[in-house]
């Protein structure tokens, strides 16, 4: 198969640089960088990762550029974007 990849860009995940291709989603770029744990369950603080990858299940929610509860599996990557793990239900600022 032929994959048309976009330009290589860099964003940060918990302060560390991660390279990705434009056109990818945040969750896919992290998966390709071998990051499996994306979110944390509210009650028992269990690790959560990709389940559906198409924006249905909300098991990949993270803080993106300061906004909590972003479904990263449908959030396109952008150069310089700041992605952070979300340890709780998220706070609106």
């Amino acid at each position: 198969m032929d994959f048309k990849r976009g330009e290589e860009i860099v964003f940060t995940f918990d302060g560390k640089p991660v390279s990705a291709f434009e056109g990818e989603t945040v969750a896919v770029a992290l998966y390709a960088a071998n990051v499996r744990k994306l979110a944390t369950s509210h009650d028992k603080h269990r690790a959560r990762g990709i389940y559906c990858a198409i924006g249905n299940c909300a098991s990949c929610m993270m803080i993106v550029d300061g906004t909590p509860n972003v479904k990263t599996c449908v959030e396109p990557v952008r150069a310089g974007m700041v992605v952070e793990s979300q340890p709780d239900k998220g706070k609106l600022t």
């Binding site: 198969m1 998966y31 369950s41 690790a47 990762g49 389940y51 559906c52 990858a53 198409i54 396109p76």
Partner: protein, 358 residues
Amino acid sequence: MIHTDVLIVGAGPAGLSAAIEIGATGANVILLERSNVAGGQLIKQTHMFFGSEKQYASYRGYEISDILLKEAESMPNVCIKLQATVLAAYDDGTWTADIEGEYTKIKPKVVVVATGAAEKSLPFPGNDLPGVCGAGALQTLMNQYGVKPAENVVMLGAGNIGLIVSYQLLQANVNVLALAEGSQKIGGYLVHASKLRRLGVPIMTGYTVKEALGTTALEAVTLWKIDENWQGIAGSEITFSVDALCIAVGLSPLAELLWQAGCKMLYVPSLGGYVPYRDKSLCTSIENIFIAGDVAGVEEASAAMVEGRLAGLSAIKHLGIDLPNQSATEADYYAQLASLRNGHSGEKILSGLSKATL
């Protein structure tokens, strides 16, 4: 407030087909898709389709998506918006949407809901570990983005999705250590199952997942044999070291908007869950809301395309547009659906549909 003849929710195979059918009459269509690509789940289907020429048999899924999208895009009266999530259906007939971040109100004369379905999960200890995911998720990673989704996988579910995705995983150099299926019979087409058996994938019927093991990510999965009451049999456990456990146990209709609009709903297990009551022409209990594709009952994409056409035709009728050959076209769509639902898996669908069709 935007006024339009038709609002279509979802640009998968059903929604695109409805848009093409309605667009050909010159009526104004707004087609909203929440994702940033049109085509729904067709875009990650790398296998060839069965069916007949009319449903693009022998094309691969992503090619069909391109064909449908090009045709819909060529119609100036069809407006396709991506990153456009429909939010709500109000009692006065207003629908609201977030279109590229902008809150928008729409007043359509007719609505076709083609929102599709979501992958089901399964209850077992550890089912929330990263690495336990839907078959569609692995397809998205490997077929849409070209990312190798895992090294070693156990697949759960021997329906067509489980069988086809297992084969695609092998094509992506992923080891499929086992394909477990709770029932005693393979649910999908035997042609897919034989392909896997020839490549050495054990198909373990009568087995399910006992538990998934790992701390911050999946490390292993234990399968066990189940008895006729679907209870695990102690001592029959087999453990595999895996980095992905792929769940392919079916889909359930994404019917939230129909609930909200007040459509009469019914639980039909063989159609995947709660589905709207409808008449033969795919009209719900609300006279200007039509349905097509998996939201009407989970089936294959080929049926979704024909249902999209049929719902489109019914929407045209509701708008009061007279077409030459309307009844012949309608008869053709009914015949196509009947032929797609012919056979073993079709029986289940037909019995489900008979409960939900008034």
